[in-house]
């Protein structure tokens, strides 16, 4: 099937997908926390838009509700909560150093290629016009994980986590026109609770280690330092 044969709306979905992927990249590249949160809000909004677009294309009315929930939750509520926390914790200006950013972006590009490679046999199966976007959503999931691996700030990790959720949701929408409503509601509920708990945790962590650097959360380890030294010597 040729891309040109798609309807405009379908092309719109694909464009939105590309934009979602782009926001993922920008999340990876952003070093400032506030900017990260903003990028995340944009991603949420784009996913919501894509959902609405799919609803339009497929005539699935329940997807409108999904789009609405997504927008409310991921583009407004969660970024707002995160923003407030950042302000409250007075880390608005904090800049995170990413180890070797260019390498990270390169790895991200490789991940996209990898997800395309993995998703190839899957896409053959689908009759939906939006099937090409499965690879995109998988890439978003993987990029979210990459972000969690490379970032040291608890908040950016949470942002990475949420962007994984975005990817998942996006996958559900574009590949199958959304999950059954009850599941989606459940997922949204979980997400909401998770956000609250995240909020609680930021304060707890801050209280216990006086920072939000997750690398300093390493009291519970199996290897002790003396032993590591011993191993190096022996």
């Amino acid at each position: 099937m040729n891309f040109a044969q798609f309807t405009l709306q379908e092309q719109g979905v694909v464009i939105l997908a590309a934009l979602v992927l782009f926001t993922s990249f920008s999340l990876l590249a952003q070093t400032r926390i506030i900017a990260c949160i903003h990028a995340f809000a944009w991603q949420g909004a784009l996913v919501a838009a894509a959902t609405a677009m799919v609803a339009l294309v497929a005539g699935q009315h329940h997807l409108y509700i999904s789009a609405l929930i997504t927008f409310a939750l991921k583009a407004v509520l969660i970024p707002w909560v995160l923003h407030r926390i950042v302000v409250k914790l007075q880390i608005t200006r904090e800049v995170e150093t990413v180890v070797n950013p260019s390498l990270v972006l390169l790895a991200a590009a490789a991940l996209v290629a990898f997800s395309y490679y993995v998703a190839l046999p899957v896409e053959k199966l689908s009759t939906l016009a939006t099937r090409n976007t499965i690879a995109i959503s998988m890439a978003v999931v993987l990029l979210g994980m990459l972000m969690m691996v490379t970032r040291r700030q608890a908040i950016t990790q949470v942002v990475g986590f949420m962007s994984i959720e975005n990817g998942l949701f996006f996958a559900a929408v574009v590949s199958t026109h959304g999950m059954p409503m009850v599941v989606e509601l459940g997922v949204a509920f979980d997400l909401l609770v998770a956000t609250v708990i995240f909020g609680v945790f930021f304060f707890q962590i801050r209280q216990s280690i006086d920072s939000l650097d997750v690398d300093r959360l390493s009291r519970l380890a199996e290897s002790t330092e003396e032993e590591e030294q011993q191993d190096n010597h022996g």
């Binding site: 899957v122 199966l125 999931v141 559900a172 599941v183 979980d190 998770a194 945790f201 009291r219 519970l220």
Partner: protein, 495 residues
């Protein structure tokens, strides 16, 4: 039907009640009462199922068959006995000032909430809801892990939350892929996440999608099961939370996660077996075997260097979950039967051990292994409980874990003879790791000023007696039950 609703509603009600009522002195008792009521309801449900076969609720929302009904009973039962233990334990913590009344309220509410999510995960027919419930279980427990607000407990909770969150997100992706595969076969996509539907059409599902989905699901739920190398949250969370929580986490939550893996494995197996030209029709089984074996061995080695008693037993849980995963992966009636039996007994024994450990830490005032000494002298019931529990968990007859390990070894012998060597050396290593640490704790002279605590060892000995009973003779009813479950999972029974 009503029994099922009762089973689910009682803990839900409990959650709300406990959350709403502030400063309740008898919260501990109420907790026990709710859990006991749940158990009663689940037993009624189990009898119904046993008499009339699998139960599918009208909206197809719930599905209870032999496999999950026994897990339901087990979950409710262990939750009850742990609640019995939790009451004096938490009172002690309150008296010690480690928690305040507000946190006690949170604790009790979340205890019931956790029970509810687990029961929901077990009884639902919808794989999406299964996911939601499992995530809910994480959410319910994560705050309990950090209940003491020590830096370690916060760190543990954070790791638990993030790692399980990410893991379970992967599982959701797998679920989406499942749905995707089902949607391309079904006309009405609404039913595409119902396990009963999926199981019915498993043969038509696309094998490639299913295998990708299975990878995501395995990694996702596997994180919750505690499979190496996804296990890192587990020892942290178990060691830092309140001990009753460790007991139910180890004894129940891991089971539920494994239950989810097995359910999906059944689907994937169905899809791969029916499809032509699949290079590896037993992919799911192989993956599970590999993960199981790896977890089993690595956890066994880790046991040797533990300094924290609860951490040690959580590694032991990883080890046993590895063993079960391996057994389920091996497939075949005998191995499946063994895995089911092992699951039950591990829950019973491990929760008993954690209860004992809770008392032991109260006696010694610490969780550090090298500070806990001379338990048998100080309080023989606790010391012996720990010793017997450890012997049971290490697979010594006449305790039941021996039976399941025996069956598993035999099953392995039949299909993968050389792996038995690995299994055996793993068992030996794990065993040595456990006992080298247990020994100095229970034996020897007590340190100065160590005094007994008010301990409720009823749950421990009840569980150990059950394990003993199963080891000597599996009751016919239960055997039938296991066999039905085995038939469901492996296609044919052993009896």
């Amino acid at each position: 039907m009503n029994a099922l609703f009762a089973t689910l509603l009682i803990p839900l009600l409990g959650t709300l009640l406990m959350a709403v009522v502030p400063r309740c002195r008898i919260a501990g008792w109420v907790n026990v009462a709710f859990a006991a009521a749940t158990t009663a309801a689940s037993i009624v449900l189990a009898l119904e199922i046993f008499e009339s076969g699998p139960l599918l609720s009208p909206g197809k929302f719930f599905y209870v068959d032999a496999f999950n009904v026994y897990l339901l009973v087990l979950t409710a039962f262990v939750a009850t006995t742990t609640a019995i233990f939790s009451r004096p334990y938490m009172d002690h913590e309150l008296a010690q000032g480690r928690v305040n009344n507000r946190r006690m309220r949170l604790y009790h509410a979340m205890y019931q909430g956790f029970l509810f999510t687990m029961l929901l995960a077990l009884s639902t027919n919808n794989l999406g809801i299964l996911w939601v419930a499992l995530e809910g279980a994480t959410l319910a427990t994560v705050l309990l892990v950090s209940l003491y607000r020590t830096p370690e407990s916060v760190e543990a909770a954070w790791k638990y939350f993030i790692l399980c969150g990410v893991g379970i997100a992967q599982a959701l992706f797998g679920t989406v892929l499942l749905y995707f595969a089902a949607a391309s076969v079904l006309t009405s996509a609404e039913d595409g996440l119902l396990w009963t539907t999926l199981h019915g059409i498993a043969g038509q599902l696309d094998p490639t999608v299913m295998s990708i989905a299975f990878v995501f699901l395995l990694v996702g739920y596997g994180t919750k099961v505690g499979l190496v190398p996804l296990h890192n949250w587990l020892p942290d969370a178990h060691s830092e939370g309140p001990t009753p929580m460790s007991a139910v986490l180890s004894g129940l939550l891991l089971n539920v996660a494994l239950y989810a893996v097995v359910r999906t494995k059944m689907l994937v197996d169905g899809a791969l077996a029916a499809a032509p030209n699949v290079p590896q029709p037993q992919l799911a089984g192989y993956l599970m075997m590999a993960f199981g074996l790896l977890s089993f061995l690595v956890a066994g080695l880790f046991l040797h260097r533990q300094r924290d008693i609860k951490r040690m037993f959580s590694y032991s849980s990883i080890e046993h979950m590895g063993l079960m995963t391996f057994a389920f992966g091996l497939g075949g009636p005998l191995a499946t039967f063994a895995a089911l039996l092992h699951m039950t007994l591990h829950s019973l024994v491990k929760s008993a051990i954690f209860v004992t450990v809770g008392h032991a830490t109260h006696i010694a005032g610490t969780q550090a292994i090298d500070k806990i000494r001379g338990l048998i002298r100080t309080q023989p019931t606790v010391g012996w409980g720990l010793l017997l529990g450890t012997a049971a968990i290490a697979g010594f007859p006449p305790f039941g874990l021996f039976v399941s390990e025996f069956l598993l070894l035999i099953a392995t012998m039949q299909s993968w003879p050389w792996l038995t060597v690995v299994l055996l050396s793993g068992l030996a290593i794990a065993f040595a790791g456990l006992f080298r640490n247990i020994h100095p704790m229970v034996y020897g002279n007590q340190p100065e000023g160590q005094t007994p605590v008010k301990a409720n060892m009823l749950p421990v000995y009840l569980h150990l007696l059950l394990a003993l009973w199963f080891g000597l003779a599996i009751p016919a009813v239960l055997a039938q039950w296991f066999d039905q479950a085995t038939q469901l999972i492996a296609g044919k029974g052993v009896l």
